[in-house]
Subunit: 440 residues, 4 copies
């Protein structure tokens, strides 16, 4: 079989003193932490689109990426070459999962039937490679944003024929995700939003979005798909306002239409910060609402106002994210996907490896730190003590709803001035730093 | 009776050619538009706090405002002087409503009982002035953020005694709002949020917030308050993250706890933009969810990252806001409050008049424009045509949920490529501009 | 000659009551204001790239624009078709100027010689059309950002061969701008900045940028180009940090290298706000430093963090911009370029006309308003009075530098407390609104 | 002598395994790195204002801080108590320097003479404590922003009497800084900017600012002050636009008036990010322009739009900052000031210690890491190789300005297509992470 990355070996764990750029310094897949291996905890996933189809083009410039598989003779040949390259890359990086859009893996044909046939042919090849390698699908999804037909949205298009087309496309995407054993199916509403309210019927668009999701659930149930359904929030870009703005907005929407028991969230670090939240906030908020589903770990640059999809290197963000994951009892059927692209100026194939190694090592290190911090109880005990007043006396009665305003007024008139204690933010930040600096 | 603003007459409508700074150029209270007077449409309200107690202090400097009533002999004397000045100002500006926090009108005493007695005394004076002038209360609320006891929040404090104190305080605030005939009661969670997740139990805090709101509803019902309950969203400031981030977040929260039928939203222009939304977006989203309750019209500076509470002068923002209000069938029992302060450098009493005149004229002009635009049908007809596909054929079947993914796939396979039309954003922006430039 | 926009007539001024979407409501080219026609004041310019080559592609989706000239047989045929369409469009919109990058008008060939030959061929065609129509070149420039060779910058590339290539390209761009009678030449450093400091020698890059500009001046002088040289500031995008961040940064840079007498600024509304400044600020700051050169009038969306290049519709921004232009004694050899693109969803050819009409009408209306406001002296007189203290007494001595700290201390010890007057921001905002609402 | 922080011992270095909250884990003052002790490298400084006078008040709430010295009998007594507490705190934290505004240390009196007498009295006490403890003044400055007289600015006030007052105040502040042996004097233009351009003469204001700085230099020279003069850039807050927006703007301004040889920059992390730059960017840009003077290390929250003045805990920011400092050959007469305040909810005195310990430990750790990284040459060598083309051949000729556009065109026509190499950002980010995780 053709080898694409000939110069690059299978990346092995060599420990933190290694200077080998093609080695893991922290990610040791079989290392056990709290009864599970790193591999089981982290469930790393490759994003097929950025990794295999990313070109480096941006709004101001052309493609820069140099890819050996790009010398293919036809779109379908290219699609096949990409499968081979993808599995070689995942194998060499020890990545056990991948995520894909329908249009990442096979090109659109002249008609929907032809497109679906293209998909079938490539899915077969992928399935073979999956069997041979043991690599699995974390989630599948449909690309409902790149083609000009989706210029006004898909499920929220003003054009009913576009809604129909999107339905047909998601039907097929669900089928192939099921066929490939995907354990999740993701809905990212790439163009489900608006560019201007002047031409928009937001009410109908939101109702239609709910109708679309219901139809998807119905059909997936019919074919026997047992995976998890995930909504991926993002506040803006490409549209001015995306309906799934953040976890709170997506959850509020699902609750309105009685869909909140059927979906969890696929939370992306970069989307969180674009919405004005920390990554931890979105994960924490999802966790306490029972909807922490899966993670896109790519980070943004907080000084830039667009989605940069950097490979994650910030240890703070990673530690606090995994702290929430650990408190969630793990990622369950979700995973940790790198919805990340190498910078436009990192256009060589080796950069793909550097980037994944940096991202995987960051999260491996973060796992050890987050686990130690949680085990130590240093934060948890502080928080427990801080809220202890709700476990006894008047606090307990509040929580158990045994008192109302009248009783609380009487209580206050009797007890007078309250006494607060410091929130000790700086001390806690110092503790977090100590765990990070100590590496766990 | 002492006159505070001796140099300033009652502000009269003089029309747009007037050069008199102490005259309305557009606000003509009794002018009829669509069967209601401007006064009835706009329901202008003075914010007691900014107007009567604002000092011009900021994080970098001391008070600048020169106020004749500040020469009072004691806190209670000051409170009385403010009542007189407030009613004189409202009278001279022809403002029919006002909004207040409990602590704006009367100073905190040594104990809660004393504080409540202070309130009772001032409420009595206010009531008299209300009767004499016909000026009414738009809404009351409790200040649960200024006193150090609320340093960690009120209903979401880690300290159960603070929850109790806040309950006692809101109990009284509900009583006096009821006593003064207020038609709304507002909850703005000034410190209901967190500064760092490291010391926060967000789950308990959110549950407690819901408990607090339920208790408030119970008690208000008990005393016979029939007004509207309003949540005022804000994304951040003073805390790093406020729980009522935006309308979507507040609504999602209310739905979780089954409270969404009991509350509407008090939407502020400045808070909308701090959350990354246009003012119109928040109003539109509230409207289609049936929760457009009332308005704080003060705008922010989109190049600044904090709450500036400017008096509103942007005609675009005002027109689009009132467009939503008109589509909502009006503000109903809500109103248009100026939760606005004169700039720190606008420290003379005349500036209060300039500021209200600018704000009121902007909204009066905007009302005429919004009404004309709506009447013309130029936007509405465009939107109707754009979504017409959902009123017939496959679109109608989608809306009526008569089809699912399988039928839609068959439809798509049969009908092939879709045809879209331009969204014509630039033309619609040109139309909006024409109505604004023509003044209606 | 082939007609591209058959359905669309020459756009005529019909006045503000016209409902004809293909008419100007405010732009009356020959209308005189203060001794010059609107056409002479505004010097409108078409941006060749967005208008003729824009495709509607964005980072999340493919081209959407439907353009009759796109059915060309070859890249050079396409380039010719575009020339014809461009001049028809400018003729029909009564636009007297255009701006272009070298690569907008002719495709890159296999070698630099071939590319330059392509340019020569198209330049000849353009020149003919210019002669026939009287339409002129406002400015030319070189595209040093789209081709992959410029991935690390052009004049600031880490690769000296890229510096050389860029020099060769700008040499030719200067020649053709000269050949076409362009009155300005623009430097926008599309990739002159960095993506990460980790791999960047900022000192060398900035020195090289200065060297490049010096060489450009030398060569342009040699060929006899007498036009104005313009730097176009932008803070970020595509790079993380662009060296010409804003007017202040560009000016500081030029001063360091003794280049500040040779360049003026091409100021873009959208770039101003991305840098955290109002458009007026950048124009004002340039004006008082003698470097207000030319304008790109396209605006951004302040709630979005990237360059949206909207056609300008905001009357406030336009009035305040032209206020600065009038105080500058006009645009002189600069102009008002629409570096703007129709939204991706405005993909029909008619949208190009709607967009330019909206932009031109906005600025025409703004011109009348700005002129009236300036003539009235309402702002100017307020400002004069406010600073009057510097025209006499101690203030005059300060300005004339006749006093130092010791004299000022003595003065202060003698005179005691100072007396300030209100800045009256709200009243001035009300005055601005009155002029805007009255239309002048 | 009265002891204020009785429960708290002198903070000692105990190493990274210590769990003692009142110990340094990384800051070991006498530890040598590259021939200098940590203490000499870092030159830590206490900010008198935040530490001794900060109250926890914010725009939404009252003071929260509990300070034992606040029980003073009079303003002057309070000022004396603060001196004692300040020196005890510095002693216990092993902080060798402090910074102060004139108004931090002594209260304003009824007249300027009285104010200056107050200053003289406290300066004497401070001087005694300095002699006793060996603690020194890093820099002094004047508070020209808190008092209402500065509502419209100080040197840029529209009121010439305010300019005079500010001059008198800075005269005295220079004298006491000199008296106390301060090695720097800082100009932070707290209100040197504008709130609205509608009422502003920006040209006169900027000219006046330059006049003011010149007068300051003259007077300081006259009294024999030999310290360094520092400008502290900040983009906005409290004003809408501060003239010293960022290092580039401040430098451009100084160059215009021929002042650039006389001032260096005091760069604050929080101000850098508010201006849209990384902290490293501002330091790097200052370094290569020869104006890296001193550091305010307090960081901001990039998701918040205002100056939060957090104690610095981000190891990335600290490492990259010290990397620039090391490349600068150290801080020279500058220092590392914590212009930081404990959070409003961290209101106990112990929090002051936690906060300084967190900040000092972060920078101590960062010093070790930055030094190792620089020593390793891993980044430096990459950068050298990347730009090697400018040391030979055509690149060298460019740098030496031996070639112009014509020669470079010939070169390009001859050599054809250029070859670029990857910028390897992800690999370099991985290297940075390895050094951070390894702790050096």
């Amino acid at each position: 079989m053709k080898e694409f990355f000939k110069e690059i070996p299978v990346i092995q764990y060599e420990g933190e003193t290694s200077k080998n750029p093609f080695a893991f310094k922290y990610y040791d897949p079989e290392k056990e932490i709290a009864g599970k291996t790193m591999k089981e905890h982290l469930r790393f996933s490759m994003s097929y689109w950025h990794t295999m189809t990313g070109s480096g083009a941006d709004p101001f410039g052309l493609a820069t990426m140099i890819r050996s598989w790009d010398r293919a003779a036809s779109p379908m040949d290219l699609a096949e070459q990409r499968v081979l390259a993808a599995f070689e890359l995942m194998h060499k990086l020890q990545i056990p999962y991948f995520c894909f859009h329908d249009r990442d893996i096979a090109p659109e044909g002249a008609t929907l039937s032809e497109t679906n046939k293209n998909l079938d042919r490539i899915v077969k090849i992928i399935k073979t490679r999956m069997t041979e390698t043991g690599i699995k699908v974390l989630w599948g999804t449909a690309n409902l944003f790149s083609h000009p037909r989706y210029v006004h949205g898909a499920a929220t298009s003003c054009n009913a024929e576009v809604f129909a087309y999107a339905a047909a496309q998601v039907k097929k995407a669900l089928e192939i995700t099921f066929e490939l054993g995907g354990v999740n199916y993701v809905f990212w509403g790439g163009r489900e939003g608006y560019d201007t309210l002047l031409n928009t019927n937001m009410e109908l668009e939101l109702d239609n979005l709910a109708r679309f999701l219901s139809m998807a659930l119905d059909y997936a149930g019919e074919i026997g798909f047992k995976g998890q359904y995930l909504i991926e929030p993002k506040p803006r870009e490409p549209t001015k306002h995306q309906y799934d703005f953040d976890v709170a907005a997506a959850l509020g929407f699902l609750r309105k239409y009685g869909l909140d028991r059927s979906f969890k969230m696929n939370i992306e670090a970069n989307h969180a910060t674009l919405a004005g939240h920390s990554f931890q906030h979105e994960l924490y908020f999802a966790r306490i609402n029972g909807v922490l589903g899966s993670i896109d770990a790519n980070q943004g640059d907080l000084l830039l106002g667009w989605d940069t999809d950097h490979f994650p290197g910030d240890i703070y963000s990673a530690v606090l994210a995994l702290y929430e994951v650990l408190k969630n009892g793990g990622l369950h059927s979700g995973g940790l996907n790198f919805d990340a692209k190498t910078r436009r100026a990192s256009f060589e194939e080796a950069d793909l490896f550097h980037a994944y190694i940096t991202g995987m090592d960051t999260y491996a290190r973060a796992l050890v730190i987050a686990h130690s911090l949680l085990q130590s109880g240093e934060l948890e005990n502080f928080v427990s003590t801080r809220y202890a007043g709700y476990s006894e006396g008047i606090g307990k009665e509040i929580v158990e709803q045994k008192v109302g305003f009248k009783e609380l007024e009487l209580y206050t008139l009797k007890h007078g001035a309250v006494q607060n204690s410091s929130g000790q933010q700086e001390r806690l930040e110092g503790i977090l730093n100590m765990y990070i600096m100590a590496g766990g």
